[in-house]
Amino acid sequence: MAKEVGALVKLQVKGGAANPSPPIGPALGAKGVNIMEFCKQFNARTQDRPGKVLPVVITVYVDKSFDFIIKTPPVAIQLLEATGLKSGSAEPNRKKVASVNWEQVETIAKDKMTDLNAFTVESAMKMVAGTARSMGITVSGTAPWNN
């Protein structure tokens, strides 16, 4: 039988750097989870991505045990990395601040497939391209499915 879920905690934590301070301490500690065990596991699983802010969703069960899923960095952050931008455009409709090509969109889409709940690479790419446009980043070239 599946274990009864007590709470979901959504955090963003730097890879390899989880420690028992706030918010991990209070968020998990108050629910009776052994915080030190979470930190040890999170850090072991993220040691290849030190310093990167990674979204993590922690499921705390009624019996105080826990599971967690580490996601890849958000689409917007991957777009900043791909373009070298520091932030998006303040007026995305009028002021374009950078551009990416469809190959870059595809790379990010494949990386984020599971987190985006997309069934096909094409639908994930459309979501990534949408986020890019809202940030004032143009997608250059013709979409592969229009070729």
Binding site: Q12, A18, S21, P23, A30, I35, C39, S87, G88, S134
Partner: protein, 278 residues
């Protein structure tokens, strides 16, 4: 360590805008974030906080969407106390019994360890601690000089002392762990552990027969040379805190550079404890 909590309310923001703001705060020393329905909380150690740097980092986002924040000081406390107040004692084989002060003693175990963990790691509940203790029971500590790196609660040093080690040094970079080791040594009436607060640079320039290090892969890789320097020829190192794949191969390869020979390892779930000899 005291922290500031910044509660950001981002009413008009789309999800990706909040992600951008979180990433920008990550760049200026905020280390962890909690996502909420109408915004998020961002956390930074008080010593790293600079209002001017924060204002500058937020500036580009002021034109993009509406947000506000409130700052609260969160004083250091023992966040682990709920778990600690009702954790179960643990047995390692039929020899070691680890319990808290509020558990009943079990004198039938040859080695009983009392731990008051607070926010230090090491109660025997984690696979890595349990495997390190099993390995220690299979080896000879009598009369040995032992170094425990990343000692946490001091549990491994305390067991080593109970197994007959005569001279022990226990090191942790976290002041909470350093204090916890001293406290727990006293609780267990062990008086030959010298606790030090720091990293590899505080390792005394002495020769050790056995080194224990349950930390993590990256720190072990970084510190291995320092360990090899203070290990007696023929001395043993017990490493833990990493996964079998791919970490064990990476650790073994690094160890080879310092003539540390892989002997054996234990595995529980994906975790590993491994023994090396110089």
């Amino acid at each position: 360590m005291n922290y500031y909590e910044l509660l950001f309310t981002t009413i008009t923001a789309e999800d990706y805008q909040q992600d951008l703001l979180i990433a920008a705060l990550g760049e200026i020393g905020f280390d962890t974030f909690e996502e909420l329905d109408l915004g998020f909380k961002a956390y930074i150690p008080v010593d790293n906080f600079d209002q001017h740097v924060l204002d500058e980092a937020l500036e580009p986002y002021r034109d993009m969407f509406t947000f506000s924040y409130e700052i609260t000081l969160i004083a250091q406390k023992n966040w682990n106390e709920v778990w600690e107040s009702n954790f179960e004692p643990i047995q390692i084989g039929d020899q070691v019994f680890v319990r808290a002060t509020f558990h009943e003693a079990k004198p039938e175990f040859p080695y009983e360890i009392v731990i008051d963990p607070k926010m230090a790691f090491g109660t025997g509940h984690h696979q890595t601690t349990a495997m390190m203790m099993q390995m220690m029971l299979e080896n000879d500590f009598d009369g040995k000089k032992v170094l425990d790196m990343g000692c946490g609660t001091g549990i491994l040093a305390i067991l080593a002392a109970k197994l007959g080690a005569t001279d022990l040094t226990a090191i942790d970079y976290d002041p909470v762990c350093y204090e916890s080791t001293i406290e727990n040594a006293t609780l267990n009436q062990v008086d030959n552990i010298k606790a030090l607060c720091g990293s590899k640079e505080v390792i005394p320039a002495e020769q050790y027969d056995i080194i224990l290090a349950n930390i993590n892969r990256n720190i072990l890789l970084d510190q291995m040379e320092s360990y090899a320097k203070v290990l007696t020829p023929g001395g043993e190192i017990y490493f833990s805190g990493f996964y079998e794949s791919p970490d064990l191969d990476i650790i073994t390869e690094e160890a080879r550079k310092y003539n540390l020979k892989y002997i054996t390892h234990k595995k529980d779930k994906e975790w590993v404890a491994a023994k090396f000899v110089l």
